[in-house]
Structures are given as structure tokens and as C-alpha cells.
């Protein structure tokens, strides 16, 4: 539909190509470092043989699964209420919830740590899931 001169097209192609190559160099650098001597490909074998890795992976699955489940449950309910129902203080409550997006995580680290320990959730999956779900809810409600 759009007609472009051959010159503009090739100019843009050259620009994009140069840009992409420059952009990609750090990634290649990272990859080449991971297989460079003295260890070479052994680095990857060591990663695959690492006994702790499956545990870490399962931890990630459990925690992210829990966060997703809880977030979906509470944000769909809240999202339904905000979009379909009428009730007093609707807008106020919405903006209050949005403030969460502004709170820097550093503000919460110390109180959260004490809170999670106080609730007896320290060193448990729930201790990771609940606060992070609380942080994700406003984002998905929007």
C-alpha cells in the first residue's frame, strides 16, 4: 500500500543491519565467554550435572505457580467489580490500589521480613508467594 523509494528502503535496511549487529555483540560476547577456554563446553556439563539445579527449578515453578494462581483469583474478582459494578468510593479505591505500583520494593523489605517471620512463614513457599502476589494484583487488575 505504501510506496517507498528503493533508496529509502535500502538506507533503512543498512541502518537496521548495522544497528542489529552492534546490538547483538554483547549477547555473542556473553555466549562466547561461556564456552571459552580453559573450561570450554565443560561449563555447561557442570550446570547440567549440578544436583541443586532441579530443586531450584521446582522452587521457581511452585512459587510462580502460586503467585499466578493467587493473583488471577483476586485480580479477576476485583477487575469484575471495578468494571461492571457500581458502589460508593469506586474511584477512590481504584487509585488507592494503584498506589502499590509506586511503592519501591526497598520500602517494604524490612517490614515484610519482620511480618513474614512474625506470621511464621519464614523459610516457606507461602512467605514468598503472598507478598509477591500482593504486588502483582494491581497491575493485573488494571
Amino acid at each position: 500500500m505504501q510506496r517507498r523509494g528503493r533508496f529509502t528502503v535500502s538506507l533503512s535496511a543498512v541502518f537496521l543491519m548495522i544497528f542489529t549487529v552492534i546490538f547483538f555483540l554483547p549477547v555473542i560476547h556473553g555466549l562466547s565467554r561461556s564456552v571459552s577456554p580453559p573450561n570450554g563446553i565443560d561449563n555447561y556439563l557442570r550446570v547440567l550435572q549440578d544436583q541443586r539445579l532441579p530443586r531450584y527449578f521446582i522452587n521457581s515453578v511452585i512459587v510462580s505457580g502460586g503467585i499466578i494462581g493467587l493473583t488471577m483469583f483476586s485480580s479477576t474478582l476485583a477487575g469484575y467489580a471495578f468494571s461492571k459494578l457500581e458502589f460508593p468510593f469506586k474511584n477512590v479505591l481504584f487509585y488507592v490500589l494503584l498506589i502499590t505500583l509506586l511503592v519501591p520494593f526497598s520500602t517494604l523489605i524490612v517490614p515484610l521480613f519482620l511480618l513474614v517471620r512474625g506470621l511464621g512463614l519464614y523459610n516457606s513457599y507461602l512467605g514468598l508467594i503472598l507478598p509477591q502476589a500482593a504486588f502483582a494484583v494491581p497491575f493485573f487488575t488494571v
Binding site: L16, H29, G30, L97, P131
Partner: protein, 305 residues
């Protein structure tokens, strides 16, 4: 037709009364979200506010009342002003990302196989974990072994201590921010460009606008909301920047690449100065709220014209 109109009217009335009716059950729907919000957001913020008015080393039972001492100290602290300057530099970097992202989005808009490769490559850093980005760039910037200085040596240009030089380090960090942050605005701009009605630019073309005029007077103004949303997210991210500068430089040399969140973390974790850390983070929160409200306010102003 008449019957239809009547029916439509009735349907309209029913929905409007339905919509206007106050549903108290709505609060029930909101309960889970606000329960999480109350326990894990409101309570910690209030706790933090109280903590910021005290002195506490984190282990002792006693909180010593300090009043506003922590905040007075904060406003005199040189590291805080350096952190604010650094955040401003990150915002500049974000503006560069936005501009480059927009240019790329315009160039990449027509679909083709080459374009989708370019898109993928440029979006790649955005999905890399920030720590991986930082570690990779740490080796690139390495003074003696890094490829950047190797290239400079090969061209017989002077080498630089990219992360060790206090004047230079923040720009090195900001550059990594541009590299990692370019993909997101590009994708958002692409999506917005594709939602622009082609008839509008077609009409401009008929009126004799050339490519640049079309971009300047049609595309750019239509993307206004996208610019504003990206800017707002960028400012929030710049003030809260933590992972990339922390892993790259640990806030050093001499706090030259510190940010408010890194300084907060250091105050609490390394120096066990919980009260001051709380005051710092409270200050960060206040700053973010003010900046966001200011942006919203200016957005409204412009809309009214």
C-alpha cells in the same frame, strides 16, 4: 422498525438501571485483593513510616525515638543528591531509548522476515534477567581484559576505566540501561503504530504531506498517550533502579553510581542503620508519588487545550 426502536429503548433502560444500582456485593469481590493489599502493602508502609522516625540497629529490642533527625540528615546527605542526579541521568537514557525505539518502530512497521529478526534481537535484552545483563556488561567494560578496551587499543585510542572512573561510571551504567531498555518502548510503539488508522495518513498524503511531515504532524501527535505512559514508567524505573547498577558497580566508585534504592539497601544491610534506611525509602516513595501526580497534572493541562 418502531418495535425495534422501542425494544432497544427498553433494553437500554434496563441496562442503565442495572448499572446505576449500587451493588454492595462489589466489596466482597474486592475483598481478596484488598486483604493482600492491606497486609502486605499498607501495613509495611505504615510500619516503615514509624521506623523512619526512630533509630534502630536491627537486632536490639529498643527503638530510640529520633523525631525528624533521619530526614534532616537525609536532606544534607551528599549521596542522596548524587542518587537523584543519577536517576535524572537514567531518565535521559530512557528518553534516548524512547527516541531510538520510535525510529526503529517506524522503520520496522512494514512486515518482512528481516524485520522480524531485527525485532527479536532488539527485544532480546529486555527479556534477559537484569543480573545477566549486568554480569555480561561487567566483562565487556573490564579494564584489562574487556573487549571494549581491546577494540580501543587496536584502534590505538586511549583506553578507559569504564566503571572505575567516578565521572564516567554513571554514563557506562546508563548506556547499559539504554541497551537493555530499548526493546520495551520499541514494542509498545510498534503496537501503537499498528493501531493508527491508515486512512488518516492516507488523507495527509492526499493533502500533499511528504514522509517527514506525515511523521511530524500525524504520527507523533497520535502517539502522545504512548509517549506519556512510557515516560511515566521510565521515571518510576529510573528512581527505583536497583539491579543493574548494583551488580555492575555496587553503587561505587565512591557512591558515584548509587541510586536511592541502592543507598537504602546499603544503609539497612551493610550499615544496620534501619531508621535511616526507612527514612530513605519513605523519601523515595514520596518522590515517586509527587512525580507521578505532577505528570498526571501536566497531562490533564495539555488535554484541556
Amino acid at each position: 422498525m418502531a418495535v425495534n426502536a422501542k425494544r432497544l429503548e427498553r433494553v437500554g433502560r434496563v441496562t442503565s438501571t442495572y448499572r446505576r444500582k449500587v451493588k454492595w456485593s462489589a466489596y466482597l469481590y474486592l475483598l481478596p485483593a484488598f486483604l493482600l493489599f492491606g497486609v502486605f502493602v499498607v501495613y509495611p508502609v505504615v510500619f516503615n513510616l514509624v521506623l523512619s522516625l526512630n533509630r534502630w540497629n536491627g537486632t536490639g529490642p529498643a527503638w530510640i525515638w529520633a523525631g525528624l533527625d533521619n530526614f534532616v540528615r537525609l536532606f544534607k546527605d551528599r549521596v542522596v543528591s548524587v542518587s537523584l542526579r543519577n536517576s535524572a541521568i537514567f531518565v535521559l537514557g530512557h528518553l534516548v531509548s524512547m527516541a531510538l525505539g520510535l525510529i526503529l518502530a517506524v522503520l520496522l512497521k512494514p512486515p518482512s522476515r528481516g524485520h522480524s529478526i531485527v525485532r527479536t534481537v532488539i527485544f532480546l535484552p529486555a527479556v534477559l534477567a537484569p543480573t545477566i545483563v549486568a554480569v555480561t556488561w561487567n566483562t565487556i567494560y573490564n579494564t584489562s581484559l574487556g573487549p571494549l578496551n581491546a577494540i580501543l587499543r587496536a584502534l590505538s585510542l586511549g583506553t578507559q576505566d569504564w566503571l572505575g572512573n567516578p565521572q564516567l561510571a554513571i554514563w557506562s551504567v546508563a548506556f547499559v540501561g539504554i541497551w537493555a531498555g530499548l526493546g520495551f518502548p520499541m514494542i509498545i510503539y510498534l503496537a501503537s503504530l499498528q493501531s493508527i488508522n491508515p486512512d488518516i495518513s492516507g488523507a495527509a498524503r492526499v493533502d500533499g504531506a511528504n514522509r517527514i511531515q506525515e511523521f511530524r504532524f500525524i504520527t507523533l501527535p497520535l502517539l502522545r498517550n504512548t509517549h506519556l505512559v512510557l515516560l511515566m514508567l521510565g521515571v518510576i524505573a529510573a528512581v527505583q533502579a536497583f539491579d543493574v547498577p548494583y551488580v555492575l558497580t555496587n553503587g561505587g566508585p565512591f557512591n558515584a553510581t548509587s541510586t536511592l534504592t541502592i543507598y537504602t539497601y546499603k544503609s539497612v544491610v551493610s550499615l544496620s542503620d534501619f531508621g535511616y534506611g526507612a527514612a530513605l525509602s519513605q523519601f523515595t516513595l514520596a518522590l515517586l508519588v509527587i512525580l507521578t501526580l505532577a505528570q498526571r497534572f501536566f497531562l490533564r493541562e495539555r488535554e484541556a487545550n
